[in-house]
Amino acid sequence: MTQPIIQLVNIVKSFDSQLVLDHLNLDFPAGKTTVIAGASGQGKSVTLKLILGLIKPDSGQILVDGRDITEMRRKELNDIRADFGVLFQGAALLDSLTLFENVALPLQERTNLNNKKIHEQVRSSLVQFGLEDHEDKYPAQLSGGMKKRAGLARALQLKPRIMLFDEPTTGLDPEKSMEIYRLFFDTQQKFGYTSIIVSHDIPRIFNLADQVVVMNRGRVTTFMPPEEIQRSEIPEIKSLIRHTMGDIYMG
């Protein structure tokens, strides 16, 4: 197993009186793809937000390259975040900017490239993602799949070392989902990033995974390789698989 790039150590997180993460321990190996599955409301999105430093844990450590981000000042945290790319559950494009401006934003804000270079780079990635005909549209004028692709394009502009995906395919039809997976696969081949994917798209998502993590009541069970999960006898896992795949699989 490779050295973990992100480690969650004994994370406890509660909202008001609700305990969401209960001494969570989890390692994400560098250059690998970890899929986080689990029923709704088990703290998957919360885990991603913790890794991004958007919320703070009640206790525990979040180590990125061995450094604890919970102790960091804003500036240090920003330096770490420059290595992250994120695709949010709702894509989170800025809705007063056009698609083109959205994808160009990280380049404008975080690099010293001149306008011409930025234009070239954004154009070529829009072509890669099949969005070149829609670059002047605003997010409200885009379909769900286009928004996800645009979010992915934006997240990849700064060549992140770590990509986080929160339900990249939820709400898309199977064909569109496959398209996202293909883009995901191509870009990972190209950039070699470590990726963390939260997804309900079981079992298809397992094809992408090097490691599968199932969250249940604020704790995790890790499986490696992913094939094991389908043979698992643990009741929570069986019920998860039954719920998400229906009787066809069980039958």
Partner: protein, 263 residues
């Protein structure tokens, strides 16, 4: 019963202290952001258009009618004392010292402040602010600071427009409609208006601008953490109402304080 009351009192005070604290930190970040590179001229121009330029007709209208009603009221009141020659100075002083800055600020709160609050609140709720943070783009510098600068530029200018239009409105009502003395109107202004009045008016308009942009963007920014605000669209609408009310009250309170301090 009493214990419960004290408990609630304690909880409330803690909450308000906490709220004030985070609003203070928010203000500091937004103001520091103003001085950080890169300077966002395009964003600034856009905000000046939204906050300032688009409010000009509204300010023109309110200024004209405020001046006219001052002219009308003032004329009859001064007539009782046989001093209707001072109409110009009455109108101008009321406008420059009090009504111009206050009414302009209230109008900008209603028109632009509510819009700012809702915009930032929606960006917060739809994770756009989180997305900016994750791209290591400071939401203060990117979103808030241009609004701060634009408001601070726009409100004093709008206030001056309000004053000038109001003075002519007073002239129209008191002199043209009621046949007052045209020469006395402007000469009385010249005689009674001192530098201090103008300084007071301008100081007020800067302070009010700061209050508007601070309260309105700050409420929107913390929409997800404001107690009892509710969530989603409802949260944004409640918080926007709250921002407008809070901003208006602060403007009136600070108007009194500044008049008392600088008189």
């Amino acid at each position: 019963m009493i214990v419960r009351f004290i408990e609630k009192l304690g909880r409330d005070s803690l909450y308000y202290m906490h709220d004030l604290g985070r609003m203070g930190i928010f203000l500091a970040h937004s103001v520091i952001g103003v001085f950080m590179r890169p300077f966002r001229f395009r964003a600034l121009l856009k905000q000046i258009r939204l906050i300032g330029a688009n409010s000009v007709s509204l300010i023109f209208f309110t200024g004209a009618f405020t001046g006219m009603v001052l002219g009308l009221q003032g004329y009859y009141t001064l007539l009782k004392f046989g001093s209707e020659g001072w109409l110009g100075s009455t109108v101008a002083l009321s406008l420059i010292r009090e009504l111009g800055p206050v009414l302009t600020a209230l109008m900008v709160t209603g028109r632009a402040g509510s819009a700012m609050c809702a915009e930032i609140g929606i960006m917060r709720n739809s994770e756009q602010i989180d997305a900016l943070e994750c791209m290591a783009v400071s939401p203060f510098r990117y979103l808030i600071s241009p609004k701060v600068v634009a408001t601070i530029i726009s409100v004093p200018i709008l206030t001056q427009i309000f004053n000038v239009v109001g003075i002519f409105g007073g002239y129209f009502a008191g002199i043209i409609l009621l046949n007052g003395n045209p020469g006395a109107y402007f000469s009385s202004i010249e005689q009674s208006l001192v530098n201090q009045d103008i300084t007071l008016g301008i100081t007020k308009s800067f302070v009010f601008a700061m209050l508007i942009v601070w309260i309105c963007t700050g409420r929107g920014y913390f929409v997800h953490q404001i107690r009892n605000a509710g969530f989603g669209a409802e949260g944004v609408s409640r918080v926007t109402t709250q921002a407008v009310v809070l901003s208006s009250i602060s403007i009136l309170v600070w108007d009194y304080l500044l008049t008392a301090m600088l008189l």
